[in-house]
């Protein structure tokens, strides 16, 4: 294998040396990879025959596909880490963009206003959407109503609503008609939370419903057979059994909400200074801060944007880790035993946009 790699590299070196042009890293990479595959195939075919050679070559291809995915992830994380650390100082969390001009170094000023905005908007949208989506998920899974089908169809359909359209919708319904007397219906954090809720409701409803569906029916029957009401059954048996799964689903929903940028453009609008009141006046949010700054022409703004991106990434990773932690299989560690036991359901990753 190493031999094949070496040969491929040398071969390419030669070829490229001969042709003598600077086609860039991509051409070199592609041709090296292809030559490597060819060499590898020929070498193994020589010793073990075509069949084995095909098998091994495919193995190499598959492994490299896995490598590509990992490389993408690593490149993204490292890139944001490196660029973000350049401008990220403790001051980022204590100051806003007051008095910041393009000439000041990127370590001046900060994004506290963005952090505050993100926290408030996320919390508000959680308050708005969580009760409704939990209720809807319970409705879908624990009731026998004829309305379950239409509700499910709508929730499914709406989970495909492009997020920018949610923002545009809130803008057109509330903000635009009140353009003159903008207060609670102007660009503000509440409007951002409303549009974020429109995204959260279908997401959380779907994931929580999946988690509830994984609770074995035998448990519901056992509870009812003990004389429990259906409400009690859901509250005391279904919810505790699905608790880890539900928290995981909700935390992932929050992670999604925190990083959502598109709907904020039309609702929170963005603002360079601290505005801690989510009900009046345009407000910043971390994603908006990043989005607006990286598009500015000056280098310092881009660097500030990356500091924000780093903070955002850390928040999302932390939420992701929290979801993993909450959703881990606790029973496995608590009592190591081979015996059968019902497992608490966990959600699968929500993959809809």
């Amino acid at each position: 294998m190493a031999g094949a790699a070496g040969t491929a590299l040398c071969l390419n070196w030669l070829v490229f040396g001969r042709l003598g042009d600077g086609q860039g890293w991509f051409a070199l990479l592609v041709s090296t990879y292809l030559t490597f595959l060819a060499c590898f195939f020929i070498a193994t075919a020589d010793r073990y025959g075509r069949l084995v050679a095909t098998d091994r070559t495919i193995t190499v291809v598959v492994v490299s596909a896995g490598g590509v995915v990992l490389a993408a992830l690593a490149s993204l994380v490292i890139f944001i880490l490196v660029l973000g650390l350049k401008a990220l100082r403790p001051g980022f969390f204590t100051s806003d963009q007051t008095g910041i001009t393009p000439l000041l170094p990127s370590t001046e000023g900060g994004g506290s206003h963005a952090v505050v905005g993100t926290l408030e908007q996320t919390a508000l949208s959680l308050v708005l959407s969580l009760p409704l989506s939990l209720g809807a998920a319970v409705f879908l899974n624990e009731s026998r109503s004829r309305w379950r089908r239409p509700v499910r169809i709508f929730v499914d359909a709406m989970s495909g609503l492009p997020s920018i359209v949610c923002g545009l919708f809130i803008f057109a319904v509330f903000i635009q008609p009140h353009a003159k007397d903008a207060a609670i219906f102007g660009f503000n954090g509440l409007m951002a939370s409303l549009s974020l809720s429109l995204i959260m409701i279908p997401t959380i409803t779907r994931t929580v419903e999946v988690v509830l569906r994984l609770v074995p029916d035998g448990l519901r029957e056992a509870s009812l057979a003990l004389g429990a009401s259906r409400a009690r059954t859901v509250w005391s048996v279904v919810f505790p059994t699905a608790r880890t799964g539900m928290t995981t689903a909700i935390v992932l929903g929050i992670a999604r909400c925190v990083g959502e940028t598109a709907p904020l453009i039309y609702t929170a609008f963005g603002y360079d200074l601290m505005n801690a009141n989510p009900f009046n006046g345009s407000q910043e949010a971390l994603p908006l801060f990043v989005f607006r700054n990286v598009q500015k022409p000056d280098q310092t703004a881009i660097e500030r944007g990356f500091a924000g991106a780093l903070v955002l990434m850390v928040i999302v990773l932390a939420l992701f880790a929290l979801a993993r932690y909450l959703g881990r299989d606790r029973t496995r560690r608590a009592a190591p035993s081979r015996r059968w036991r019902p497992r608490a359901p966990r959600p699968t990753q929500e993959v809809r946009p």
Binding site: Q23, G24, W25, F26, A27, T59, V62, V63, S64, A65, G66, V68, V69, L76, F79, I80, L132, S133, A136, F139, S143, S145, W147, P150, V151, F154, V155, A157, S159, G160, L161, P162, S163, I164, V165, L168, F169, F171, A172, Q176, I201, S229, R230, A231, R232, G259, T261, A262, P287, V290, F291, A309, L312, M313, F320, T348, Q349, V351, R352, P353
Partner: protein
């Protein structure tokens, strides 16, 4: 057997049994019903509002004209708006993304299910999930600041060697950043985890008995995958692809950063230029009611397309042999 016992007795009718529900259950039923119902109402209001408010601009422009016009100009009177230029860009970017991401995603899923050890598998699944949880904004800035420049030689190389394919040609001295190709690559990396996780899900459900049988018959691992895993997971691959397509069509922020968002039907995907529906909406915030109504109409068209794609995805997955238990 003397099974001749008379069956002639008239069919019995069941007794009507009503349970007297407890008060908590009445409250429970009411609360859950109203939350379910209000979600339904809320979401239909969104749909209806999209329809009615698109009405203004559609009425003025005409549906067919709107769908077939490339231009989007609100600075002239009467405004000339159309969604075709945006739609073409949307579809081109999404297709590039999916074409690039599907092979890699499927192979990576195979790597996870059939080529890695149990421990590595758990780590990889976690990493793919993590990749899916990263906000698209971060992919966008990454592509905007890093990948965009790195890809220029790639674009040049492709156009040099494959320029004879019409849409891969570039005119000399044109800027190669901000192209639909680069946007497609970035969106492709974004949808990679979707394809990988759906494909992984179905591959991991491939019947172990059949897999072992194939191996026992002396086929190589690849032979086993080709004869058992891939045919079994076909539906999942197609479904995951459609799902990724739906997501790629709706992607906003990354393309808003990467593309100039000028509606043109650009023939050359490697050159600067292009716009997508959602990216265009994102970069044209504010504006008069007519523009907003036009943007709404564009958003509606996009929504219908993504809805169709997503629905097709779930139908494909649930029809396939492997997809029965798969959550999309």
């Amino acid at each position: 057997m003397d099974a001749e016992t008379p069956v002639a007795s008239p069919p019995r009718r069941p007794r009507v049994v009503v349970d007297e529900p407890a008060r908590v259950d009445r409250v429970f039923d009411a609360v859950t019903f109203w939350s379910g119902f209000s979600v339904l109402v809320l979401l239909s209001i969104v749909g209806l509002f999209l329809l009615t408010s698109s009405g203004d601009s559609l009425g003025q422009t005409g549906l067919w004209t709107f769908l077939t016009r490339v231009e989007w100009r609100t600075d002239v009177q009467p405004a000339r708006i159309g969604v075709l230029g945006l739609l073409v860009g949307t579809v081109v970017v999404a297709v590039i993304a999916v074409v690039l991401a599907v092979p890699v995603g499927v192979l990576a899923a195979l790597f996870i299910t059939d080529y890695s050890s149990a421990r590595l598998r758990r780590v990889l699944i976690g990493l793919v999930d993590l990749l899916a949880a990263i906000p698209s904004l971060l992919f966008g800035v990454w592509g905007f600041v890093l990948l965009s420049n790195q890809m220029v030689p790639v674009s040049r190389w492709i156009s040099d060697h494959f320029g004879w394919i019409p849409f891969l040609a570039t005119e000399p001295n044109r800027d190669l950043t901000g192209s639909m190709f680069i946007a497609g690559v970035v969106v492709g990396i974004m949808v990679l985890p979707i394809i990988t996780s759906v494909a992984r899900e179905v591959f991991s459900q491939a019947p172990p008995g059949e897999k072992e049988a194939a191996l026992a018959l002396g086929s190589t691992r690849w032979g086993m995958i080709r004869t058992v895993v891939l045919p079994y997971g076909k539906g999942g691959i197609v479904g995951g692809t459609m799902l990724a397509l739906g997501r790629a069509l709706g992607e906003t922020i990354a393309v808003a950063l990467l593309l100039p968002q000028v509606p043109l039907v650009s023939k050359n995907i490697l050159e600067y230029g292009g716009a997508t529906v959602s990216g265009f909406i994102a970069t044209h915030s504010g504006g008069d009611p007519f523009t907003v109504s036009g943007l709404m109409a564009a958003g509606l068209v996009l929504f219908i397309i993504t809805l169709g794609t997503n629905m097709m995805a779930s139908v494909v997955v649930s029809r396939s042999r492997s997809g029965v238990g798969v959550e999309l």
